[in-house]
């Protein structure tokens, strides 16, 4: 294939189109195309060569008006996140297999995967923005059409919040491109050739515009309030993609766009951004402690986890960058698994409040085992994946200025147990109350167990031997160390 990167984002898009016309057989199409997508992503990653010397694949198309140019490129960071997208997409398809949904559901997931892949591949900022916004559309429908009772409000809130953030990003990009043209006389949207020095005194505004767009997506406290609603109302697989990949777009944007363009500004602004990241870890944990809805709880825990990612990435130390990036994958696996299990609970009982359940450890031991496993990974038990990312991020923050952020982050690690374990106990250990729906909860079937075995196996693998995973991402991050 002469254009592997183009194929990477068009295969799922083609899948979406095919699925839309398959009617009731759409899930088979979705399975086939998701598998093909994963195989393609894996194949390209494999052919890229050994992790230590990752070549960068590039595809460039003809120049359009105003310097817009179809330009794709894939380094280890892009390929890693695309791999995560493809993997979670397949997991989502498998997890939704028995849902009674229309063909559009499957098409939306494939379209989402396609747009996300585009975001991770694009090196032309015009296409980057286009793909970035394109992700909103399928997710809007996933939440708005297949969500639970409050889905419309949540879908609109999700769309408006992230769109409002993107407007600032777009303004920043336009300012960057036009300033470049004004000074050099060349129209270009190419990330590699844009010169932020042409901005002069306007650079901080452009930087903050970009950061605002990314921070809403991550989401960083205090721009996070769309996330709990969106997660709560989205269908389980939608939450998986939202938490597993879409939130990662924000951190990816920082790594790919904001930090490389403004290396000095991102160091200068570390006291503010790092402080907010550290605050996110504690604030998210405290909020999660107060939740009575399982999905809201996990959503707030996502905010805390992404705070660790952000802290590591912004510290711009080698261990912080590696750990923060690995934490992107970790969070996708762990939170993905938790959301899936809450989804399984919801499918069976149509409830997700903490107090709606009880005594599930006796009634559904497999579910209890996997939920406990993922919970432990989520609270950062050493030996499982969550710890690796958190620890390395904190270690990075410790080496950066303001080590106080690392101390605050440690407090977040401590508090994690204070929301996760009580919730686990109420759902799985407490006796079932009179209004409980635990009787409806049957244990996981073979398909569900297989999915969770894969996820938990990966959690254990990354936790015990994170070295190859870190080595995979490292070449792409080496240049970002301060």
């Amino acid at each position: 294939m002469s254009m592997p990167l183009t194929a990477l984002w068009t295969v799922p898009l083609l899948g979406a189109l095919v699925c839309a016309f398959l009617g009731s057989k759409a899930r088979y199409g979705a399975l086939a195309f998701s598998s093909a997508f994963l195989a393609l992503a894996g194949g390209i990653s494999y052919l890229q060569g050994s992790p230590s010397a990752l070549a960068v694949l590039t595809e460039t198309g003809p120049q359009w008006a105003y310097g817009v140019c179809y330009r794709l490129s894939a380094d280890s960071l892009s390929l890693g996140l695309i791999g995560l997208t493809a993997f979670l997409n397949l997991i989502c398809v498998a997890a939704s297999w028995d849902l009674k949904v229309s063909a559009g559901y499957w098409a939306c997931f494939l379209a989402l995967a396609s747009a996300l892949t585009g975001v991770f591949l694009a090196r032309d900022l015009f296409f980057f923005y286009a793909f970035w916004e394109a992700t909103l559309i399928p997710m809007f429908f996933i939440i708005g059409l297949w969500g639970s009772s409050g889905r419309l409000h949540a879908a609109v809130k999700f769309f408006l919040f992230t769109f409002a953030g993107s407007v600032f990003m777009l303004l920043a990009l336009l300012a960057l491109v036009s300033a470049h043209h004004r000074v050099t006389g060349v129209w270009t949207w190419d990330l590699g050739s844009l010169d932020p020095k042409t901005l002069g005194a306007a650079a901080p505004y452009v930087f903050w515009g970009l950061v605002l767009g990314f921070a809403v997506k991550i989401p960083m406290v205090p721009l996070h309030t769309w996330l709990p609603d969106a997660h709560t109302e989205a269908p389980a697989a939608g939450s998986v993609m939202l938490a597993g990949v879409m939130l990662k777009m924000g951190v990816y944007g920082l790594l790919r766009v904001a930090i490389p363009l403004f290396p000095d500004l991102s160091v200068e602004m570390y006291p503010i951004l790092g402080g907010l990241a550290a605050l996110s870890t504690v604030y998210g944990a405290l909020c999660a402690m107060a939740q009575t809805d399982l999905k809201r709880l996990i959503a707030y825990s996502s905010i805390a986890h992404l705070g660790f990612c952000l802290l590591g990435v912004l510290s711009r130390t080698s261990q912080g960058l590696s750990g923060g990036t690995l934490q992107l994958v970790n969070h996708g696996l762990t939170t993905g698994a938790l959301f899936l299990m809450v989804g399984f609970l919801y499918e069976r009982s149509h409830k997700r409040g903490l107090s709606d359940f009880g005594d599930l450890a006796s009634r559904a031991p497999y579910l209890a085992f996997f939920f406990g496993f993922a919970t432990l990974a989520s609270i950062g038990l050493p030996g499982l994946n969550g710890f690796v990312g958190e620890f390395m991020s904190l270690s990075g923050a410790m080496s950066a200025p303001f080590p106080i952020f690392a101390f605050v982050g440690c407090l977040g690690v401590t508090l994690a147990a204070a929301y996760a374990l009580p919730a686990f106990q109420v759902v799985f250990w407490s006796p079932a109350g009179p209004d409980s729906v635990s009787a409806k909860v049957s244990d996981l079937d073979f398909r569900e167990r297989a999915i969770l075995w894969i996820l938990c196996g990966l959690m254990l693998w990354i936790g015990l031997a994170p070295k190859p995973w870190l080595a995979w991402f490292e070449p792409a991050l080496r240049g970002l160390v301060r």
């Binding site: 809130k157 402690m289 390395m392 410790m398 440690c410 070295k467």
Partner: protein, 635 residues
Amino acid sequence: MTPPEVMLAVKVLFGAPVAAILFGFFVMRRVKPEWTHLPILASCAAVTAAAACLAAYTTAKHCLELPVWTWAVAGDWGVAFGLRIDGPSSAILAMVAFVGSLIHVYAAAYMKGDKGFARFFLVFHLFFLAMIGLLTANDYLQLYLFWELVGVSSYLLIGFWYHKESARKAALKAFMTNRIGDLGFLIAVLMMIYAYRSTRLQTVYEFMAAKPSIYTSIIALGLVWAAFAKSAQWPLYYWLPDAMEGPTPTSALMHAATMVTAGVFLLIRSWPIISAVDGLPQLIAWTGALTSLGAAIIAGTKKDIKRILAYSTVSHLGLMMLAVGLGELGTAAYHLIVHGFFKAALFLCAGNIAHAFHQSTANVDETGGLRREMPFTYGCFLAAALSLAGAPLFAGFFSKDAILDAAWHHGGGLRVIGMLIAFGSAFYIFRMLFLVFHGDRKEQSRGGRHPHEAGPEFVLPIFALSFGAVVLGHGSIREWVSNLMTYGMRGVPMVLIRLKPYFDLPGEPALPALNWTVSAFGTVLALLGAGAAYYLTMVDSGWDWRWRGGFAEAVFESDFGYKIIVGWGARAVSWTARFTGRVLDKNWWDGLLESSSDVLREAGNALASSAQGRVNDYLWWMLAGSAVLLGRVLR
């Protein structure tokens, strides 16, 4: 011991438990859950043999540092895991393996017929594995990994009978408190990476020898904080008494013999760091002494037999801390090992009683005179209790008196507190002995139950443990332990360590001479304690029931008021969380953001009132607009 044999022993040490757990989880649990313990007991035997080999290896003045695998690398940052088999690790490992295996055997009998038998054994053995890993880690991060794994498996075991609310609460309390302690450990490890660029024990030791960093005090404080949580010292001791909600073998293995001693072990390991901070050893010594005294007093007031033993454990851990704080690492380790034996024996005796009553624990209201029905249990309990109280020539006599001796030499308040602890220990353990096994009091009633002696599968492990509690005082063993504490500390800067003589040089005779003055004092006080216990339980037999009620009981039940303060702390945290999550985030901040859409809607409505839909109005607007444009064009 040749190197290949040592390598084999090391492989067995980890391979056997991992294989047993995996086999048990994937095969036995499905095929024959009631036989899950068989591969695990086999693994225990293998581990004990391997631990014995390693102890022999280090006794021959060898040390082993074995890189195993590189955990994580990023740039010039990296953490590698490996094994460090040296004196402190192999000595304590030998005790943990031996005592742990005996408790496994006991647990097989005790848990028989329980619905969660397979689950219990798998988690139990996971704990065992974690403890092995903790003791043999050569890197602080690796130690932290197993430290947390120990915490999680204890959480799962305390909450084993999760249908009981008290068990759920106790499990959460234990885990959260340990997590608060781990905060110190985490900060210490992060600081270590920052200050020393490594978490490897040897590197840290060497660094400490070369140039103590200004961050050392933070690292040392963090480690001490973590050790206080794990080893149940004030201010983080309060989880341990509640942790008795777990099945009795759990209490015996974790909350007496192994897990809680991990904190002491950590401090022994970290002594080069801790001793470099002025005043910190004194802080440890005083905290240990006061915790020990307070816990000994409270242990004398409890009615639940497992709780008496739990407070007794806190008290003895305090003694070990006292020893560590005074620089007597060998003494601390020796008492740790002896305590492992006699406390495990006492717990298993309590387990026999609970089992005879078909309960998870027993209360002194229900017991009394049990020596008639349970003579073997009584005998073992008596031997272990004598050891605990420090009766001459029992193992506890040597280990405890060495600590008292150290406190005596330190002088001042510690001298007095040490003697008071000797009195208190004898008092509470003999009060328990008399209340449970002796007498025929009108306040006590069996409630129609007919306890009987447990079978041989129960009694044999206890017998072995009590035997150990008696004979471990033999001079050769004391010498062995004290010597071992120095092996493997080679390369550790001796100036920094500021150790007592027997810790100075590898291989020097390290047996502390018995100080007869102190021993005599200690013995007399123990006798007085036992005598007081006899008087208040046998002569004035209703005393224990008379003083209750009112202020005195409130003071003791709340641990001198400290439990109330802890409760306030917990409530403050949960209030903060509720305020943040429900009011600040949901109502105020999200409410504000959502209300922005209301603002826009209201503004739209206000504008809309000017647009009534009449075409003519729009024409006027159009006309006005055209006029303006025309004006600009014509200007």
